[in-house]
């Protein structure tokens, strides 16, 4: 496989929330939940996005409008050409029998794909989806049985996903947690899992450039592992040894930012 974008037409666009859209591509990729693709807009940039939908011959990425690149992407119409490269990264496992998925903000994308896979495998899965506000909350129609919460109470329960996780653990014998979202949320998820002795996997976000483990931009301290290659999904035991987790990351120059 060459590490080059393959140009494909946008097959469809779905509005998921005020600032969130899914872009579909009628293009086969062999991807597992938790993996990402690099999306290239010629003469603009190329950024990583978690795969949120996977069907026969079609996949989708769900994107939150957060900056100049995603603004350009939101100008695109069905039929427009963009580049897809990947999939990349280490996916989520499927271990556990009574499983909680904790999704925050645009971290919902890879967990949506994982949820469907775990369901197909016949596992008992509880999905918790949270966002700051309703304009950033997705998949209410796709997952009617999920627990939805917003920080401001504008949709679903008022409160944090971690509160929903704690009450879920109190009434269910959860043996595995998968989480993706803001690091401050995942830090709490890790704390809860440690307190209750539950295994977990978390998907980390870092500034990814090449996407395939060469440039070193997304390496985490002190292990020096590449998030794009050895992650983005890490086991609990590895996360516990990543000292920068919940504390800082690096920007596009390599400078540490909190």
């Amino acid at each position: 496989m060459l590490e080059q974008p393959i140009t494909v037409k946008i097959a469809g666009i779905k509005d998921e929330a005020k600032y969130i859209r899914t872009f579909f591509f009628d293009h086969h990729i062999d991807a597992k939940p938790g993996q990402f693709v690099m999306l290239w807009i010629p003469r603009v940039n190329q950024k990583p996005f978690g795969i949120s939908y996977m069907q026969e011959g079609r996949f989708g990425i769900t994107v939150c409008k957060v900056g100049s690149f995603t603004e350009k992407l939101f100008e695109k119409k069905p039929g427009d050409l963009v580049g897809i490269q990947g999939p990349y990264g280490r996916p989520f496992d499927t271990r556990g029998t009574n499983i909680a998925l904790v999704a925050g903000g645009y971290g919902t994308a890879p967990l949506a794909f994982l949820f469907e896979k775990l369901n197909r495998m016949g596992k008992k899965v509880h999905l918790i989806i949270g966002a700051r506000t309703k304009d950033l909350l997705t998949f209410q129609d796709r997952f009617p049985n999920a627990v939805f919460c917003t920080d401001d109470g504008s949709c679903g329960l008022k409160g944090f996903t971690t509160e929903a996780l704690t009450s879920l653990i109190a009434r269910e014998d959860i043996d595995m947690v998968y989480s993706c979202g803001p690091e401050i949320m995942m830090k709490s998820v890790l704390d809860i899992c440690e307190k209750h002795g539950i295994d977990c996997q978390l998907s980390l976000e870092r500034y990814i450039k090449c996407g395939f483990g060469v440039c070193g931009q997304c390496c985490v301290d002190p292990l020096g592992l590449c998030v794009c290659k050895e992650g983005p999904v890490f086991d609990k035991e590895v996360i516990q040894r990543i000292s920068e987790f919940g504390r800082y990351h690096r920007d596009g120059t390599g400078r540490r930012v909190s």
Binding site: E3, P5, K209, V214, C215, V220, R250, G252, T253, G254
Partner: protein, 302 residues
């Protein structure tokens, strides 16, 4: 068997992480040492922070890799914090600094390169960053002499000068570096630049449009360059370009290299490439009855 030294720096083996691959953080350098590298070179640091080029910055093609990263780095002040306490890396760390003038190179060496480092490398040969390397004329014999001379004055450490495989006057550039006091020649940088165009969008894929070529396409050229330089200078050479296997490393050493740089090899075989190459070198040496890697430096010239 593989133990060697270059400019008095003791190396457990002759494999060195080349600058620009996995060298953004101290932790990733340490990871390369854990994976068997004999030494590591950090990603180059400039005076001011640089964002570098937009993505895509690195792609592969049928015969190798092409990159135009554009010297992204956090700048002198932040890099001083990142690359302190280098004993944690547990292996020799080679600094790499860039500048736009001989004075700026001198300042970078003075202000950045502490005694924690084993050596400092001056890449005068980047083919894809305006203001630096070959795009700024730093690869001529005259500029190489001036920059090397200015840098050597500022440090007691050996200065490695990284030159371009593109130039016709390879021997003259290497000699200029040697005359200016360089401790070793690193040969070389990426080739080209080259270009790959996406034919549906009709756009070059790299955001900078062109990029330096590395990997298998570069290897025979790099071997020839090292072979030529070996005849031109007396100082040691670090041979870099497309080395993926023990065979490739042995070949480069026979061409005249005292040590070998590994960059794109990390892509082909993962960070464990260092250990794999060393094992393959040892296997070959056992078969051939070579007891010491130093025996075969420049063997192809006999």
């Amino acid at each position: 068997m593989l133990r060697t030294d270059i400019c008095g720096i003791r190396l457990d083996n002759p494999t060195i992480l080349a600058s620009g691959i996995l060298g953004v953080t101290k932790a990733s350098l340490a990871n390369c040492i854990r994976n068997g590298a004999g030494a590591v070179t950090m990603k180059s640091i400039s005076k001011e922070p640089r964002k570098g080029h937009n993505n895509p910055i690195i792609i592969t093609f049928e015969a190798g890799m092409m990159n135009a990263v554009g010297y992204s780095n956090p700048g002198l002040l932040e890099a001083k914090k990142e690359f302190s306490d280098l004993h944690e890396v547990k292996g020799p760390v080679i600094a790499s600094v860039i500048g736009t003038t001989p004075e700026e190179f001198a300042q970078m060496v003075r202000d950045f390169v502490t005694d924690d480092f084993a050596a400092v490398e001056l890449p005068l040969s980047c083919p894809h960053t305006p203001g630096f390397g070959t795009l700024a004329g730093q690869g001529t014999p005259e500029a190489t002499y001036d920059i090397t001379k200015a840098a050597v004055k500022e440090t007691k450490l050996p200065v490695f000068v990284k030159i371009s495989p593109n130039t016709q006057s390879l021997g003259d550039v290497a000699k200029a570096a040697e005359r200016a006091g360089a401790g070793a020649i690193t040969c070389g940088n990426t080739l080209g630049p080259g270009m790959v165009i996406d034919i549906r969008t009709r756009q070059p894929i790299l955001d900078f449009k062109v990029g330096g070529i590395s990997g298998p396409a570069l290897r025979p050229i790099a071997v020839r360059c090292v072979y030529d330089i070996y005849k031109s200078v007396k100082i040691p050479i670090i041979g870099v370009g497309g080395i993926q296997t023990g065979r490739d490393a042995i070949e480069m050493i026979m061409a005249g290299a005292s040590a070998v740089g590994i960059g794109t090899g990390v892509y082909y075989r993962g960070p464990e490439v260092f250990r794999l190459i060393c094992r393959e070198m040892e296997e070959f040496m056992q078969q051939e009855g070579i007891r010491d890697i130093k025996e075969i430096i420049g063997a192809a010239h006999a």
